[in-house]
């Protein structure tokens, strides 16, 4: 990781120096060491640039605004981030010509929440040593396996393929990340009774404070005017007035990105309440795969997205009502 970070900085400096780009989009330290935030750098601010196990933030969406500015910007994208960027190209939200993309190797990003859930408190620093994390805390040094502290999205990594880039920075070393079946939990929920599912979701969704972070971070949610900002929608950026609004907001949010969601996992990562939003997105992805054929948003620039497409032989909605199990 350290080596990749050095290579990145070197390339950023070189590209700024030769005038290919006039700014760099990367990550800088936030309030806490584990709280890296996206930032735009020019040559003299580059000393603040960081790339480490907490660079989970997907920088694709920031390129929408960057593309409205003059000159070309350099952006670092991890393999899964390139799917989001590609999807933004498909939706004409970014200008490919104004972005110089460096694809960077990623071995999985760390989820501070998982470390806290292990009961490790007072964390002051985290170092990576091979497959282990060395965690300094005010109560002394702790250790945990790296794979136990990875973000959900990394446990189900899409692989190390970059779908769009100008150049790549990789170490060439062999490593594995991911490997979990992303639909396992969805299938588990599907196998429950409707009553159990209802209880599961009510429990999860009732935690929602309607901060809209999930929408704001989502690369697929790039409308200038969002339905959730429309006061007439009845669910505009406010605390839920009743149980139903929780369901409504979440169904509509997931529906609006259905078929365009690349499963980048940003929504679940940023939710301050830890709501498993990926389970809603993945349900749509799973359904699309089952009903209309395998589809990965952002994988290419030609396939039409499932919900703006159709075939005459599509299944009827009654397939849902008629499938087995109780109502």
């Amino acid at each position: 990781m350290q080596r990749v970070a050095e290579m990145m900085l070197e390339r950023a400096k070189a590209l700024l120096a030769d005038g290919t780009v006039n700014r760099v989009v990367g990550w800088e330290m936030g309030e806490f060491f584990y709280d890296l935030t996206p930032a735009v750098f020019t040559a003299d601010g580059l000393d603040k640039f960081v790339y480490n196990g907490f660079s989970g933030a997907n920088l694709s969406k920031y390129m929408i605004k960057e593309c409205a500015k003059d000159g070309k910007a350099l952006v670092f994208l991890k393999p899964c981030d390139t799917y989001s960027f590609n999807q933004l190209i498909n939706e004409h939200r970014v200008d490919r010509e104004k972005v110089y993309i460096i694809g960077v190797e990623c071995r999985g990003m760390i989820d501070i929440r998982k470390i806290r859930d292990m009961g490790i408190k007072g964390v002051t620093a985290i170092r990576e040593e091979g497959e282990e994390l060395i965690i300094d805390t005010i109560y002394g040094e702790k250790k945990c396996a790296r794979k136990d502290a990875l973000l959900e999205k990394c446990l189900c990594c899409k692989g190390q393929e970059f779908v769009v880039y100008d150049e790549l920075l990789t170490t060439g070393e062999a490593f594995t990340v991911g490997g979990n079946n992303r639909f396992a939990k969805v299938a588990e929920l599907e196998a429950m009774t409707p009553g159990e599912r209802f209880a599961f979701w009510r429990n999860e969704l009732s935690k929602c404070i309607r901060c809209n972070a999930c929408r704001n971070v989502c690369p697929a949610c790039s409308c200038l005017q969002c339905v959730f900002d429309n006061p007439k929608s009845g669910i505009a950026s406010k605390a839920n007035a009743d149980d139903f609004e929780e369901n409504m907001f979440h169904i509509i949010r997931a529906f609006h990105v259905a078929g365009r969601c690349t499963d980048c996992g940003e929504c679940s990562r940023v939710c301050p309440q830890g709501i498993p939003l990926h389970l809603l997105n993945r349900k749509f992805i799973k359904d699309v795969n089952e009903f209309y054929g395998e589809f990965q948003a952002g994988a290419d620039n030609t396939t039409k997205y499932p919900l703006t497409n159709f075939t005459k032989e599509d299944v009827e909605p009654s397939i849902v009502t008629n499938r087995g199990g109780e109502n």
């Binding site: 599912r197 139903f244 409504m248 169904i251 349900k283 009827e316 109502n327």
Partner: protein, 148 residues
């Protein structure tokens, strides 16, 4: 069911979104042919089945509907050629999601009814009303503020 006992005979509220060109005309035909269908089916006319945004369906439930049905032209016959093909995909996805959230999937339905199918319209509505009556009141989705 307690609800029914309390209120006497349960009369469900059913919202039917009907596309202007086929299903609404089908409903008209059912009317002019003096075919009977339940009076608690509230028809909302939409230009095409694909005008129906998933939010409409959810909103209908929120405002107290016990069942929501969408009717459009038969696939291939849409006045705008392809609207109902899109609606078909959307509704399939939406219904599946409702089911995933544990909400009764029998409360939603899509039927294709042409302008000439007055009898089918009446039959569909009678059948749907029957199903909803058996399911009883919609408690999971209603907005509590809308109840007395």
């Amino acid at each position: 069911m307690q609800v029914n006992e309390k209120k006497g005979e349960f009369k469900p509220t059913i919202v039917a979104f009907c596309c202007n060109w086929c299903s609404y005309a089908g409903a008209d035909l059912a009317g002019t042919s003096r075919l009977s269908y339940p009076a608690n089916v509230k028809i909302i006319r939409v230009p095409c089945s694909c005008r129906v945004n998933p939010m409409f369906i959810l909103r209908a439930f929120q405002r107290g509907a016990d069942g929501v049905i969408l009717c459009g032209c038969h696939p291939g016959d849409c006045h705008y050629s392809t609207g109902n093909y899109y609606a078909r995909r959307r509704m399939t996805m939406l219904f599946s999601m409702l089911d995933y959230l544990g909400i009764d999937r029998k409360r939603t339905r899509v039927e294709w009814v042409s302008a000439a199918e007055g009898t089918k319209f009446a039959a569909v509505m009678n059948d749907f009303a029957q199903t909803i009556t058996e399911l009883g009141e919609n408690v999971k989705l209603g907005d509590l503020r809308c109840k007395e």
